[in-house]
């Protein structure tokens, strides 16, 4: 029983990371109807920036954390303005290819600038365990969960209780009507991309803290889980993304614990992919999404 609780908590911790990235994907999809294949690499790049500040410039963790989030926001904003906005006229395929171009470019740039060897992120978000009776709760997982849930709450409050949030939602729902109401819609969409970039940066920083070492490809696994979580929850549902991420984290962890023969660490990813495929085929609107009818 103790083992079970430990694994559930650990799974929630991993799941929180997937949820953060999944939420970024959903945010961007709702705002601009684009699946940003580069979302994971954006988070990776942010993490490297943080690493460089801490390791080469002697910054301490928390100021770096905040600064990195700020830079990530600007990066996301800039990418939408400079790359996505001009290309949206050319159609869905072009935009998909643009996000793939960004994926490949950011991946290459990170290797080029900082080298692909293993790095360590000097982060206080690791930890041992707390003992609660016979259960050893991993601190890491709790920190991850708290950080992500904290962000989710802040974003939720922003979207639902502020004028900016209302304008952001309006822009996503009906851009033309919003423009007529005086909303600078392209700016709003870029702000959405900025927030998504912040969420990816958080996912990256937490993931890098959780692993002993990281390399430029460390987010490739996370983005797959995040896609699975986003689709599982319904690509337009932020709540779904969070629940999807947490569920996925717990499920995979439990499967890995109780079926160690079949579900070796190498097999975790294919399992997530199998889930992704199953959801895409049988219930593409996800567990919480709306069904889009396309009868032919």
């Amino acid at each position: 029983m103790a083992e079970f609780i430990q694994q559930v908590v650990a799974g929630l911790g991993d799941g929180a990371i997937y949820a953060s990235l999944a939420l970024a994907l959903v945010l961007i999809y709702r705002a601009t109807h684009v699946i940003n294949f580069a979302q994971g690499e954006m988070g990776m790049f942010s993490t490297y920036i943080a690493w460089a500040l801490i390791t080469h410039h002697g910054w301490s963790f928390w100021p770096t954390f905040v600064f990195t989030l700020g830079i990530s926001f600007l990066g996301g904003f800039g990418i939408h303005q400079a790359v996505i906005r001009p290309l949206q006229r050319a159609g869905e395929l072009t935009v998909v290819m643009a996000t793939i171009a960004l994926l490949v470019m950011l991946s290459g740039l990170a290797s080029w600038i900082w080298q692909p060897d293993e790095k360590v992120l000097d982060s206080p978000l690791v930890g041992g365990t707390w003992s609660v009776g016979t259960v050893a709760i991993p601190q890491q997982a709790v920190y991850d969960l708290l950080v992500v849930l904290g962000c989710v709450v802040v974003l939720w409050a922003l979207f639902n209780f502020t004028k900016l949030g209302l304008a952001l939602r309006a822009s996503a729902v009906n851009p033309a009507a919003s423009r007529l109401l005086g909303v600078r819609v392209p700016w709003m969409l870029s702000i959405g991309w900025g927030f998504a970039a912040v969420l990816s940066a958080i996912a990256g920083l937490l993931a890098a803290s959780a692993q002993f070492v990281f390399t430029p490809t460390f987010m490739q696994v996370v983005i797959i889980y995040a896609f699975a979580a986003a689709v599982l929850g319904g690509i337009e549902s932020p709540v779904g993304a969070v629940i999807g991420g947490l569920t996925l984290g717990v499920t995979i962890n439990l499967l890995g614990t109780y079926l160690p023969g079949q579900i070796t660490p190498d097999m975790r990813l294919p399992v997530a992919l199998a889930i992704l495929l199953l959801v895409l085929v049988f219930r593409p609107s996800g567990l919480l999404g709306r069904t889009l009818v396309r009868r032919v």
């Binding site: 290309l87 490949v104 290459g108 290797s111 080029w112 190498d266 199998a274």
Partner: protein
Amino acid sequence: MTARRLVPGVVATLLAAAAVCVLPYFLSDTHEYRFAFVATFFIAALGLQILTGYAGQISLGHGGFMLVGAYVTTILSVDHGWNDLSTIPLAGLFAGVLGFLFGFPALRLRGVYLALATFAIPIALIALAKKYSDFTGGGGGKPLTRVLTGHEAYVTTWPIAGGMFVLGWLLLSGKLGRAFRTIRESEIAAVSSGINLALTKTLAFGISAFFAGVAGSLYAIIIGFVNPDTFQIELSLLLLIGVVVGGLGSLVGVVVGALFIEYVRLYAPEILSWVEAPFGSPLDPKRAGAPAAVYGLILLVVLFISPSGAAGLLRNAYKSLARRAYTLRRT
């Protein structure tokens, strides 16, 4: 298609074929070896062009079908004594069947959702290759029966590339090609013109996977070694980038795409030095990651300047030249 419209294509193809035959006399063994790789990428990109450029189905996982072809060839030739070249059709077929089967669940997916699903293919296959290491040699890889010289690689791959090109052209200029193009424009229109959407889409997957399987098989043969990590997601993305840069929906573009894939990798350091120069070259352009950065950058530039790729540029250039020639003739 009228004879007049065919002429430029046929002329270009004949010229290209002649060039391919003549080239070895001018190239060193190393360069011939590189060009052999161009041939394998050409075949794989051709397959992807059929699926994405003609049938309009985005695939981010074609490297996975190359993996299948590579391993079929390796296992048959190493463990069962087959002659490596004779395994090629079977490797293609095996990959093709797998692609065809993938087509079925893929039927329910559109656009980006399909792209997401295809992401899964190479990742899953790599994990399987690593797991069943008794067959595949696992993560460490498996050597093949022989190692080829550059010249041998060249003369092995290019005739097959030529054959595949003709095969592709035949497939695409017939009813099937038209069905593919209709689907790309509008699936609803396709169904209302009586096209069996399910069959056509799965065929598109199967055929393109066949091409990728052949390419993978050749790749293994000319490298002499097979390793699951070769077929990571980057390869699939690279194939797609090559097809887009060459020009979606253009067979000629595939040549450009294949050249792009092989040579950007080699010339990335040069390109990066040139980009860096105004900033005082703070980073060594030869470091790892340079090629990927350049691929991405070039793709972005192409998307902005000429979304229909090199083929689009060539087509526009040809058109404006033809117009000039026409007006000159009239005056």
